[in-house]
């Protein structure tokens, strides 16, 4: 994606409000990065990594990524950054992951001490939920993408000589209100126990099918 400055010769002065779009995205990316770091420092992985790295340095490094992206004329809250932030917050999820414990069991056959050590670290964090922190990141990312898309549309229209100020500003406002409303309701909806009482084999088959479909869609 290209920033306004690349095509500023073609965008009329009336379209200068479109510069606000990337700035809003930068702010959202910074807040999301902060939440991801909070989740990271709450996770059990910190116990292992802090032995080898000066993790306090992560704050300025990660918080500077959106600024660098903006300087490089890219979306400050890009997909790559979102993936990275989610992976950064994954430590708490590993503590509750069956797959992770299965792999620890496999490791136990090869290196029982290490497997036991990891198990002791992660099993102690089983009760920690990262849902709210992750929800913050996902909400901020979805909002930033909606803002970015409407900004891009607005820029296209300005280049064609159409005034899009009313449209874009209203879209930003609408996106914020609606996403925030859903963000507020979301934890309430998922706090209801919706776990189905179906046989595990059936859930497994459905999960496998959904996984294949999702993987196929992601590769397209």
């Amino acid at each position: 994606m290209k920033l306004l400055s690349e095509k500023k010769g073609r965008v009329r002065l009336g379209g200068s409000y479109l510069l606000i779009g990337p700035v809003i995205n930068l702010m959202l990316a910074e807040i999301a990065a902060y939440f991801a770091l909070l989740a990271f420092f709450k996770s059990p992985t910190i116990v292992i990594l802090s032995k080898y790295f000066a993790l306090q340095l992560l704050y300025p490094v990660i918080l500077s990524i959106p600024i660098i992206l903006l300087i490089l004329r890219k979306n400050p809250f890009s997909f790559a950054l979102f993936y990275f932030l989610i992976l950064l917050s994954i430590g708490n999820l590993l503590a509750r992951s069956e797959l992770f414990y299965a792999s620890l069991d496999a490791l136990y056959l090869k290196s029982p001490e290490l497997a036991s050590y990891l198990n002791s670290i992660f099993s102690s964090a089983k009760h920690v939920s990262a849902l709210n922190l992750l929800l913050n990141i996902v909400w901020l990312f979805v909002l930033s993408q909606l803002i970015w898309i409407s900004t891009e549309k607005g820029r296209e229209m300005e280049e064609r000589g159409m005034s899009s100020r009313n449209l874009v500003v209203f879209q930003w406002g609408f996106a914020f209100v609606v996403t925030y409303f859903i963000f507020l309701l979301y934890p309430l909806v998922f706090s209801i126990n919706l776990a189905p009482q179906a046989p595990l084999i059936l859930i497994g088959i459905i999960g496998g099918g959904v996984f294949i479909v999702a993987a196929f869609l992601l590769t397209r």
Binding site: I90, L93, L131, A214
Partner: protein, 413 residues
């Protein structure tokens, strides 16, 4: 089916969370994967657009801008974009022919712009394209059209010629202002006495001369009306070359327009043959004929098939023999190679040493590369051959004023 960007982004985010959630058997991630796709459920609600008024001013000639203003109301909820569709030969000069709004309830939309037509023709500007989509720009995009009764006829500006040059040397006046026609209604000016031929009116028999000669003799009077002019306008495919606004065909039409204006306003009969389309217009005089010529010229487009000048001459030979007109060939001689057609035409009209045929060839400054030079040499050779046949040839380099070119006198032996 094309997936919209908004939809793609939300689905991609959701899929990433879902795949990661399944891989890590994480309930939180699977639960979060629903969050982005919730926005895809936002429906596109119907939005009604109504035209309140419209106006079109100016734009009657090529290169002259015109103003269009259309006022509308939109009622409903969502994002609406309205675009007034312009033909490809129109250029926007001010404002925009489209408007976009986020509509909540009711909103007034105004389209106000100026555009310049770059090509002659009759254009319909009746289509308003309306796009309606949901506020997140996801989901289905509804597109429909409504009509506004707007139409514009764009003519080419006719260069006002004060006078057209004459040949000196061979022809004293092949295009004189007082040149009279060979056919037409006989007037009262006596011309000569000649022998009776079948079809001559009895009232023209000169009884005294008949008695003296012992043969039936008739008086001949000068006919009313002026001489005819016949224009061969080349619209073969090679005339398409050039820019959209300034190409050979447009220049040829400009010449035809100017000549028809000049001659029809001086009482000449003017006829037209469009080479390539095999269409012609009978010679006639007056403003009405000029109007017919303009209407015909507005419709002229480069032809799909090729027609040679000789074929064109053969197709209109009967009319040429009848009217014995002054003939103009407007063409690119390096492509049409009209030498044989020109010679035939000059024989049809020749009276003594008169050769009332004129070739107007169009050229452009094409640069110094080899193909252009080769074409230039070919053109020079053809020009020499045409001139040596005693036919007037005018070279119009596009970009120079037409009136100056046609006024220029050609001196040759």
């Amino acid at each position: 089916m094309k997936i919209r960007k908004g939809t793609y982004v939300l689905v991609k985010t959701s899929m990433f969370l879902l795949v990661l959630g399944i891989l890590l058997t994480s309930y939180e991630l699977v639960a979060l994967s629903v969050f982005p796709v919730l926005f895809l459920l936002t429906p596109t609600l119907p939005l009604r657009v109504k035209v309140l008024g419209h106006e079109l001013e100016g734009g009657r000639y090529v290169g002259e801008d015109f103003r269009v203003s259309i006022s509308m109301t939109a009622s409903g909820f969502g994002v609406v974009k309205v675009m007034h569709k312009l033909p490809e030969h129109f250029e926007l000069s001010e404002g925009s022919n489209a408007v976009a709004r986020f509509v909540i309830g009711s909103s007034r939309l105004e389209i106000d712009y100026r555009a310049i037509p770059t090509k002659r023709g009759k254009y319909s500007l009746e289509k308003l394209v309306i796009q309606v989509e949901n506020p997140f720009l996801t989901g289905k995009l509804f597109v429909r059209e409504i009509e506004v009764p707007l139409e514009v006829e764009v003519k080419q500006k006719v260069p006002k010629l004060i006078k057209i040059g004459v040949h000196r040397g061979i022809a004293r006046s092949p295009t004189p202002d007082v040149d009279v026609s060979k056919i037409g209604v006989p007037g009262t000016d006596f011309r000569e006495i000649r022998e009776y031929v079948s079809g001559d009116p009895v009232k023209f028999i000169n009884w005294k001369a008949s008695a003296r000669k012992n043969d039936v003799m008739v008086n001949q009077y000068e006919v009313e009306g002026k001489k005819s002019v016949w224009i061969f306008l080349d619209a073969n495919p090679y005339m398409k070359h050039g820019e959209l606004i300034r190409n050979y065909l447009e220049a040829a039409i400009e010449v035809a327009n100017a000549l028809s204006y000049y001659y029809t306003h001086r009482g000449y009969r003017v006829g037209l043959y469009v080479v390539g389309h095999r269409r012609y217009l009978y010679p006639d005089t007056g403003r009405r004929q000029f109007r017919r010529m303009v209407d015909e010229l507005i419709r002229v487009e480069p032809s799909e098939t090729h027609e040679s000048m000789e074929e064109a001459f053969e197709n209109s030979k009967t009319l040429l023999i009848t009217y014995k007109p002054l003939i103009y060939f407007i063409t690119r001689i390096e492509y049409s190679k009209p030498v044989r057609a020109v010679l035939k035409a000059s024989k049809v009209s020749r009276r003594g040493r008169l050769a009332p045929v004129e070739v107007i060839t169009l050229t452009m400054d094409g640069g110094n590369d080899f193909p252009e030079k080769a074409i230039g040499i070919l053109r020079k050779s053809l020009e020499a051959r045409i001139r040596s046949a005693g036919v007037k040839l005018t070279v119009w380099e596009l970009g120079r004023p037409l009136s100056q070119i046609l006024l220029k006198e050609v001196l040759y032996a």
